[in-house]
Symmetry: C2
Subunit: 474 residues, 2 copies
């Protein structure tokens, strides 16, 4: 049975159940996603101020069989935050008024934040206590904690500090029946029953709505060093990664790979961004180390470069001599997605592979792609995590419009190869609505059947983020 | 409806479905647990050699409505591996023949092991490739990977490397309907649907049976240093922990607290164990650091001691001058549980608290305990994780038999205090059968209701480890 829309009558009934000023008609920003793939028609947005209010909303939605669409910063790239216009309008629940940093416990390395807190604000609150909240990604100025946890966000700090789920000690959340789970534990060890925390993290709002989290902080490394090194090949990059780990251990905090195509797109669309090598190298890696007191990062990077040069892994390299130069290297890396947007991708892929299979994938993928047509490839990303953004562009002189009918086939052949090589077709962005079919195609059948059983058990009416992650129950 | 027993007729039907030599009558070791709390009457034990055979067993059990008791190394301390004699005998499934290290990928820092592999063998296989598998606990010579993951084991490496769940990238498991989940991914990032891995880890075999795991390895620290320092109080220990973190960051790999009572029990029961201070200090901490190349651990520990002495946190200390001395310190720490066993505890507690609440708990607990009677307390454990083993003993001249009727009340007043202070009544041992009532008493109602719904959805007949974690459905 289809859900009911969040219509004016439903909104009116909610209005009576909540304090003033908690509901308004959704402005366009709640109805679109960053790449313009989905645009919902209209709807109501609720702006609760507490978990109790979220509970009231969800109980009402469950009773009326109305969908609930959790909304964080709106930065997701797989459509998890936007309902298609042709489905019954869900109630959008934005956490933007629940932005409190409830507490910081420097001695415990713990911070408790509400789900609407913006990532950059959480980072700043930690830094004010001389601690690091190491989740870091391009959208950190607008992405909110609730969405980051619901999608188990990744980013550039995963190599050292893990994904969003690894940084979470406890959650407060409202379950699909409206019950509030008071799980804001600040414990490093707590083996009391099933790990509901990890079940909700990464479930993209389909099993409940996260309202607050207790988050792990880390010590700030005493000194940080950054370098860009030119590698002969992805295989050399992999060996360099091993060498770096054997020399600095867990102090290796980033290892990002970049292809020449990224430099060229930057030169074309954002020429003011400083590029460290000219001509652009085929392959280069951005390396960051954060070391304990008593060690000199520049020295560690010089040693790494010397040994790697000796082993024919690298042919050139620049070690940042100051903070500004380090920032330049990061600015280059972080503007690749914007350059990609300006060029206009035929298809984008957020894939991961077993680390040792990354070079082979990069060798084999062009052959798979050639079955579909001629394209340019910009391959970059979190090499240290085995996570590549493998994005496909038209040849010079052509545009994405010329390939619109090939996009699906492009993704199909690449995802088939990823799957064959034991990789993942969604490394860090999640399933949302974009990859529901991919999950059905590539997902393990036993896991999918367990997922359906869990969804039906916790959300029997299917009100939570309907259509995301799993196809609606028929 | 109660389950059916795994009787001779059921065993005979299984025998026909499996290769030769997979079933035998359970010897006593499968029917007892280490502290002698439960002893099941009789039963059959299955010894499968593959996930397919486990699947056959579980399908047969599901069809016949017979309970399945997953059995690892048998070292669990909460009775998760032993069915009480007064319930229908389950089929015991021991993974002891599935001990293969299927593969080691040094470049990826990944090792794939079958669930029956003994922890010490996994550590050795990693070390053979110059990698560290950092899960480490007293029973590592007999505990098996499957049980360690099913209970999300902790131990002495958690401070730096996390719990068992944090060391697991993927699982192969048989679900309660007999489906095999092929989830042995070696990926650092994989956001494709609900995290079944974290749901099975810590579920103590009640949602499925783990048959293999892909595990994270770490670089071996270049140099390790060990010290024991005498602290003025638990509060001073907490400040020392903060100081150590600010000086060596994540390189701090262990921070264990010990009370004088532990030294005295060792002197009484295991006098050959070397004790570093005489007379025994009221409170001391064992500290281990594992540093990157270029740093001297002894120097780092000397610096820490000097600064802590200056700040009146420590009054005495010994820094191991060689491997043998470091081993002596660890031998002391690791024999405290054995000394406790020889003295004979009235009640043992595996609790955790928010780190900053640990000193207050240690201050308040004796007052709570005094409501019940006069006891000796041996408080020791993983201070860095906020995890204390808070064990209660008779006064000199009395025995545990004198207090047998008070054990429950002792645990009740201590667990009530832990709960009031936002702690956990099972930090690392799990719920098993021992703490089923505690979980019902202290667990969050919304979480408990979600747990029941998940259990009913994945295991509708309740065959998997019946009576563990959750009370049987009535």
């Amino acid at each position: 049975m289809p859900l009911n829309p969040a219509d004016d009558a439903f909104a009116e009934s909610l209005r009576r159940a909540l304090p003033d000023d908690r509901l308004r008609r959704a402005e366009p920003r709640y109805l679109e996603e960053p790449r313009g793939r989905w645009a919902g028609g209209s709807g109501w947005v609720a702006l609760p101020r507490s978990a109790d209010e979220v509970s009231t909303l969800i109980r009402a939605a469950a009773k009326a069989r109305v969908g609930v669409l959790p909304y964080g910063g709106g930065t997701g790239l797989v459509g998890g935050q936007v309902a298609p216009g042709d489905t019954p309008a869900p109630l959008i629940v934005s956490l933007e008024r629940m932005t409190a940093i409830r507490a910081v416990y420097p001695q415990e390395n713990v911070l408790v934040a509400e789900a609407g807190a913006v990532l950059a604000d959480v980072q700043a609150a930690a830094m004010a206590e001389d601690r690091l909240f190491p989740l870091s990604l391009a959208s950190e100025g607008s992405a909110r904690i609730g969405g980051l946890l619901a999608t188990n966000a990744g980013g550039v700090g995963v190599l050292r500090y893990g994904n969003a789920r690894d940084l979470t000690l406890g959650l407060e959340a409202v379950l699909p029946d409206g019950q509030i789970w008071h799980g804001l534990k600040r414990l490093r060890k707590d083996n009391t029953g099933y790990d509901l925390r990890h079940l909700l993290i990464g479930a993209e709002g389909t099993l409940g709505l996260i309202t607050a989290a207790s988050l792990k902080l880390s010590p700030v490394p005493a000194a940080t060093g950054t370098a860009v090194m030119v590698v002969e090949s992805p295989r050399a990059a992999l060996t360099l990664l091993s060498l770096a780990r054997s020399q600095v251990g867990e102090a290796l905090s980033a290892f990002e790979i970049m292809h020449r195509q990224g430099y060229e797109f930057l030169a074309e669309t954002l020429p003011d961004i400083r590029r460290p090598f000219d001509p652009a190298p085929d392959w280069s890696v951005l390396i960051e180390v954060g070391l304990s007191a008593g060690l000199d990062p520049a020295e560690a990077l010089e040693q790494l470069f010397a040994d790697a040069f000796e082993a024919d892994l690298v042919s050139d390299g620049l070690i940042a001599q100051n903070q500004a130069q380090a920032q330049d290297f990061w600015t280059l890396r972080e503007h690749i997605p914007e350059a990609n947007r300006r060029i206009g991708a035929v298809a984008s892929h957020d894939i991961s592979l077993p680390l040792s299979a990354v070079p082979e994938f990069i060798e084999r993928a062009p052959g798979a792609l050639a079955q579909v047509g001629s394209f340019r490839v910009n391959c970059f990303g979190h090499m240290g995590d085995g996570n590549l953004h493998y994005n496909i562009f038209p040849m010079p002189g052509r545009s994405r419009a010329d390939h619109v009918n090939q996009a699906e086939e492009v993704s199909r052949v690449l995802h088939d190869l990823v799957h064959e090589m034991d990789g993942s077709v969604s490394a860090e962005h999640g399933i949302g609505r974009l990859k529901v079919d991919d999950l059905q195609r590539y997902g393990d059948p036993a896991k999918l059947s367990a997922m359906r059983a869990i969804k039906a058990a916790l959300d029997p009416e299917g009100i939570m983020n309907p259509g995301a992650v799993l196809p609606p129950a028929s």
